[in-house]
Symmetry: C2
Subunit: 178 residues, 2 copies
């Protein structure tokens, strides 16, 4: 018996053979200013840029970021590295439409104000208290501090574009939703 066979409405009993090898590769967020977004995600969250792809004809650039894993280094060859980037899971993609960074009134929609849809991304951290201290040291704005609201030990911060980032410490959430 496994929990993933729980009879949730809609769940198919067995994964199809046709979906074998499918990988949930990335989530894409548009960012106003890549220099600001890259500073935030590389400095505060320790992400690294795997690839930047430029599309001058369509006036946009893509940035693919990941959290490096020690025993799984990306290839150095640029073409192999692009293919590798698309074969991983847990990738964050930014789209930069050229020019938005110099428009003072430009702002993307966070998905939590109306109209709603996408809600947030989430990072888990090994020590929630240390992470909160780190965010405070860096003046990161909060939607909800971990001690606020009904869901204790879960924080929500905002990235420079206003997208929400949930912060969780897995060891503190064993009893969540029970």
């Amino acid at each position: 018996m496994s929990f993933d066979t729980e009879n949730h409405p809609g769940v198919c009993a067995q994964p199809s053979a046709a979906s074998q090898g499918f990988v949930f590769n990335h989530s894409m967020l548009r960012v106003k200013d890549p220099a600001v977004a890259l500073d935030f995600y590389t400095r505060i969250f320790g992400m690294r840029v795997l690839r930047k792809l430029d599309f001058p004809e369509m006036k946009f650039s893509l940035y693919f970021l990941h959290r490096p894993v020690a025993n799984n280094p990306p290839p150095e060859d640029i073409g192999e590295r692009t293919a590798w980037t698309f074969s991983q899971t847990g990738i964050l993609e930014f789209t930069h439409n050229w020019g938005t960074e110099s428009d003072p009134d430009f702002k993307y929609h966070d998905g939590n104000a109306q109209p709603q849809g996408f809600g947030h991304i989430c990072f888990s951290v090994p020590d929630l208290d240390a992470a909160i201290q780190w965010f405070d040291d860096n003046q990161v704005p909060y939607v909800k501090r971990p001690e606020q609201g009904k869901m204790k030990d879960v924080a929500f911060i905002k990235d420079p574009d206003g997208y929400w980032i949930e912060i969780v410490d897995p060891s503190r959430l064993k009893n969540l939703g029970r």
Copy 2:
């Protein structure tokens, strides 16, 4: 030399010690009807439900899905399984606000119509032609078929809530953006 040290504006030279152990855990999408979303993502994409968490006081449920990996099975103990779910990367979370499924006019915002923000999630597939055949066999709607538009070999389909899913075959993208 490594490509992730390329001098993109904003990228910090070295990841901070404070971010050690941070994991990009999940992306959250609100779904109108979990039975419809779970059918789509488990049947078409081979995802499995790791945990469902109910919050009756706030009238919502959360579903955490992943693509199973053979050598990394989730724990059976329910509390350990919750903690494990939050420690992985490549998780997709659905939020179901109770009641939306029975409102015929209810629809979430996909982030690509105005106001824009979040753009899409992406799955990579080992064989693009076979995947397209599989989607066609299942009457999955397209935003863009792989042969359409400027970016050849990249498809975008729509999930039941209208969120865009990019479909890529890594082996065909080695020259993308060069």
